[in-house]
């Protein structure tokens, strides 16, 4: 591949032409700038720099013309020259990204574009250029007038020295000590990285701390929009915190619309946990008006933990008033319903039960499950117990888990009867296990006797099927885990009855 300065500039000119015709991302454009980058890279492997001098219609390298185009409309030499650019160099280390940025700038067709300004602002690390100021403008300058005045200058000097108490004998040593140099370097590094937005916010807040000025408030509101667009919720909160001091201003009102809130779906799934946490803080400033949109936003959440955090945040927005969510309980969308019910669970109000009443027997299991969770939060065990006969296993399991957690001892004998019934053995192991967990949680001392009986029960028929009951009993005993019970299991493990011994061994192992 030819990669000398002549070929490079000619490839560059072709690439510019194609970018102007199509677009930088168009495959035809790529066919030109990819090889161009390759040519430059090859050349820069052996040469630290390629330098071009720009004339009106000619571009030269080391005094030799390498590009010539007299047509003003198409000449890249003319385009650069017109903008005052007289020299361009590509330096070893040039990245593809830099080249693309450069091509984008010099391919702009509009005559109003200031290519030099854009190149300056492009802040290229590996592209240098030299610009001269337009010569066509007449700028007059003359030596300022000078009239000798009748002033005693020596006296004036003495006056200044006295006023400022200047001691002329004090030496001035402006050299920086190594530690001072390091301090300054650190300060420079920090200043170079500081973004304007947080600084401006601090400044504007500082101003408002002394005086309430509407123009300043308006600037802060504009910056707030900028922060939201940039997903910079940390600074957004600083602004909102300040503006919230004024009762006549609702700084977040503008963002409480459906399109804006739904637009935050990228934020709730962001990989930056900090951004998400700051977003949670930000929405805590929202009013109840935003709740329907926030609940819809939840349907986009991909992570369970994030969903829970959002629900908590919305519960906070609802300010312990469950009625604000009532309208959403009539929604047809199952996700919206589930989320609304979950939020009610966080609000923990007495009105919640009334609001949920129409949905208690909702045909969708997810809704009933969510209701159980809310009932658990509200300590409504009696209502939860009704779900032990639900058609869906998932609902029954949730009910059992909730009753286990709530310690509803009244249920003990009912559970025992259910476990002893023939139908119990038709249930899945997971549900059976939850029954035993619930039994242990609500049983008191008596439960050990019952479990021991079930573990060591002598059966004639269907021994194999009964072995599941032994396992469940043994596991429940192991969960109780007192010394007496563990001794019992150890003795069981030595029994000749294989079904008993293996159940005990397994339980002890899991312990």
């Amino acid at each position: 591949m030819e990669s000398g300065p002549r070929y490079i500039i000619q490839s560059l000119a072709k690439a510019v032409k194609v970018i102007q015709m199509y677009h930088i991302n168009h495959p035809s454009a790529r066919n030109f700038y990819n090889p161009l980058y390759e040519k430059i890279t090859i050349y820069l492997k052996d040469h630290p720099v390629i330098e071009y001098q720009i004339d009106q219609f000619i571009i030269s390298n080391r005094g030799k013309a390498v590009y010539k185009e007299d047509e003003k409309e198409t000449s890249i030499a003319f385009r650069l020259f017109r903008n005052g650019i007289r020299n361009i160099s590509f330096i070893s280390g040039l990245s593809f990204h830099e080249l693309i940025k450069f091509l984008k700038i010099i391919s702009k067709i509009s005559k109003d574009e200031d290519i030099a300004l854009e190149l300056w602002e492009g802040d290229f690390e590996h592209i240098n250029f030299y610009v001269v100021e337009e010569e066509d403008e007449v700028i007059d300058y003359k030596v300022p007038d000078f009239t000798k005045m009748d002033i005693d200058y020596d006296a004036k000097l003495r006056e200044i020295i006295a006023r400022e108490n200047i001691d002329l004998s004090i030496p001035i040593k402006p050299n920086l000590a190594p530690d001072e140099l390091q301090t300054l370097k650190n300060q420079i590094a920090e200043a170079e990285q500081t973004s304007g937005i947080p600084l401006a916010i601090t400044t504007l807040i500082s101003y408002l701390n002394t005086e309430k000025v509407h123009e300043i408030i308006d600037i802060l509101k504009e910056l707030l929009e900028l922060c939201i667009d940039n997903r910079n919720f940390y600074d957004a909160i600083r602004i909102v915190n300040k503006l919230s001091e004024y009762p006549d201003i609702n700084p977040v009102a503008k963002f409480e619309t459906e399109p804006i809130i739904i637009g935050f779906k990228d934020v709730i799934n962001t990989t930056h946990q900090e951004t998400f946490n700051e977003f949670m803080n930000f929405i805590s400033f929202f009013s109840k008006k935003s709740i329907p949109y926030l609940v819809r936003l939840m349907t986009f959440a991909k992570l369970k933990k994030r969903l829970q955090d959002l629900r908590k945040a919305v519960a906070y927005v609802a300010q312990d008033d469950p009625t604000t969510l009532a309208i959403l309980l009539q929604d047809q969308d199952i996700d919206v319903l589930v989320n609304t019910i979950a939020i009610l669970g966080f609000i923990k109000s007495n009105e919640t039960i009334t609001l949920l009443e129409p949905l208690m027997n909702h045909h969708n299991a997810a809704i009933r499950t969510e209701i159980i969770i809310v009932l658990t939060e509200l300590d409504k065990a009696v209502r939860i117990a009704r779900y032990l006969d639900d058609d869906e296993e998932i609902v029954r399991i949730k009910a059992l888990q909730s009753l286990t957690r709530l310690k509803y001892t009244v249920i003990y004998y009912d559970l025992l009867n259910r476990i002893k019934s023939k139908t119990f053995r038709n249930l899945d192991f997971a549900e059976q296990r939850e029954y035993f967990n619930c039994l242990v949680a609500n049983g008191g001392h008596e439960v050990i006797t019952q479990l021991r009986k079930m573990l060591f029960k002598w059966v004639f028929f269907r021994r194999k099927r009964y072995s599941v009951m032994r396992k469940l009993s043994a596991m429940a005993l192991a969960d109780i885990g007192t010394g007496h019970v563990l001794d019992m299991l150890r003795r069981g493990a030595k029994r000749r009855n294989k079904s008993i011994s293996s159940a005990c061994e397994m339980a002890l192992r899991k312990k």
């Binding site: 630290p48 002033i151 200044i160 300054l184 200043a191």
Partner: protein, 453 residues
């Protein structure tokens, strides 16, 4: 790598080699390695350039026509090579293709010596690929430095842009944001080429209305200080804009107040202080909320905050001004002190302004930045008029890097106080001529501006 970086690398390598030959035998590994490194770099550069040339003119060192800036990084090596070139009377030093390690070591071994020994050693050694051009009494300005006109154009264009910007804001007219953005980059480029060209123009004062002239001067001084501490071009652009816009809040005040010739009353003074607050909204009008606008807003608001937490507008004392505001604070105070105004007909002499600032470092001004600022301007900044120990009166025309008390001066009055087109003297060159004290040029009816324009 930029040409500037190539240049500073060569300077650093030459410095390392000369230091090595000062300490070790020429066959020592340290010397051999240092020579190998510089020769390798020179050979690489000679693949691109037909020769590699270091030129010293006044207090500048140029690498292939690109001026090497004195920055806090690499300051020691550049200072050393500059001083060496100066004391040995070398105008230019060229390295040609074919240079080898042996030639480089021999050159370094005589480069470390005194002027006479160096001159003799150079002519007797018969160097073929290291060419030295010695300075004459009156060295001509190198052609690539004849940028004076261009720098003046840049300065006056910037002054025009600043004036238009402020006038348009004053009259609620549309702002030409593009021009004000562009001019900053022109100023940065001019400073990169010739730092002191623009600084000289800031010393003239009263080229226009104080408000415009002062705003631009603060912008330029801030850029020069920012460049000296090594800020990136991107940061310089923000700092320069902010420097020019620092007093923009004044356009929100009554013109009568700004142009009042008598001393201000307390009430008027309090009103004038509001310009820091008003600067914020004027900057939003002028720049919008882009990155430069946001930084400028903060600087306009903080440019009267002092290093010790005092100053106005009233603020929490624990809140420190940002680095850029501390730079503008220094440049603003210096330019204000040294510029004549209606109520300050006789301004502070630059030397005394710097002495005041030195005294107030740690109180009003950042102590480290104050040091760098004095390094930049020298103790007798360009435009200062000095009484010399031989009875002559001289004008400071250049700084001597590293010799802040010994600038390059031009004699303007003889011992009998008669105006003369005197010679240029480098006071650091042990001529026996010393500064007695700085004085007001006006006392002798001299207008320093005539020497610079």
């Amino acid at each position: 790598m930029s040409i500037h970086k190539f240049g500073t690398d060569i300077i650093a390598l030459l410095y390392a080699l000369v230091k090595a030959v000062q300490v070790y035998d020429l066959n020592n590994d340290v010397v051999q390695t240092a020579a190998k490194k510089i020769v390798y770099s020179l050979k690489t550069l000679l693949n691109i350039y037909s020769s590699v040339q270091l030129v010293r003119y006044m207090d500048y060192v140029f690498f292939n026509k690109q001026r090497l800036r004195f920055e806090i990084d690499g300051y020691a090596s550049l200072q050393f090579i500059h001083d060496k070139l100066k004391t040995l009377g070398i105008k230019s030093l060229s390295f040609l293709p074919g240079i080898d390690k042996e030639e480089m070591i021999i050159f370094a071994s005589i480069f470390k010596k005194k002027k006479e020994e160096f001159t003799n050693g150079y002519s007797s050694s018969g160097f073929k690929r290291i060419l030295v051009e010695f300075s004459t009494e009156e060295d001509e300005v190198p052609d690539f430095l004849r940028e004076g006109e261009r720098i003046k154009r840049t300065y006056f264009k910037a002054l025009k842009v600043t004036r238009n910007l402020m006038q348009n804001l004053w009259m609620n007219q549309p702002i030409d944001v593009k021009s004000s953005r562009r001019i900053i980059y022109n100023l940065i480029d001019s400073l990169t080429q010739d730092e002191f060209g623009l600084l000289t123009l800031t010393a003239i004062k009263n080229l226009d209305d104080y408000t415009y002239n002062h705003s631009l001067n603060v912008g330029i001084l801030s850029l020069a200080l920012g460049q000296r501490i090594g800020l990136s071009k991107k940061s310089l652009a923000k700092l320069g804009s902010a420097g020019i816009l620092h007093d923009i809040g004044k356009v929100a005040l009554p013109k009568e107040l700004i142009y009042k010739s008598e001393r201000l009353t307390n009430e008027e003074w309090e009103l004038l202080k509001k310009h820091s607050d008003y600067g914020i909204k004027e900057i939003v009008k002028a720049r919008g909320l882009d990155e430069t606008g946001l930084i400028s807003m903060t600087i306009a608001y903080q440019h009267h905050w002092n290093y010790n937490g005092s100053g106005y507008p009233i603020h929490n004392k624990n809140e420190s001004p940002i680095l850029f505001s501390r730079i503008v604070r220094i440049c603003d105070s210096y330019d204000a002190m040294t510029t004549p105004r209606m109520y300050q007909v006789v301004p502070y002499l630059p030397h005394f302004a710097l002495r005041v600032m030195w005294k107030l470092r740690n109180v009003w001004f950042d102590p480290l930045l104050t040091k760098v600022f004095i390094q930049l301007l020298g103790l007798y900044p360009i435009g200062s008029c000095l009484e010399l120990n031989n009875g002559e009166i001289a004008l400071v025309i250049r700084q001597n890097q590293g010799y802040s008390e010994q600038p390059i001066v031009k004699i303007i009055l003889d011992k009998d106080e008669k105006k003369v087109d005197g010679k240029v003297i480098d006071l650091s060159m042990n001529s026996g001529i010393k500064v007695i004290k700085p004085i007001y040029a006006q006392k002798y009816g001299v207008n320093p501006a005539t020497y610079f324009m």
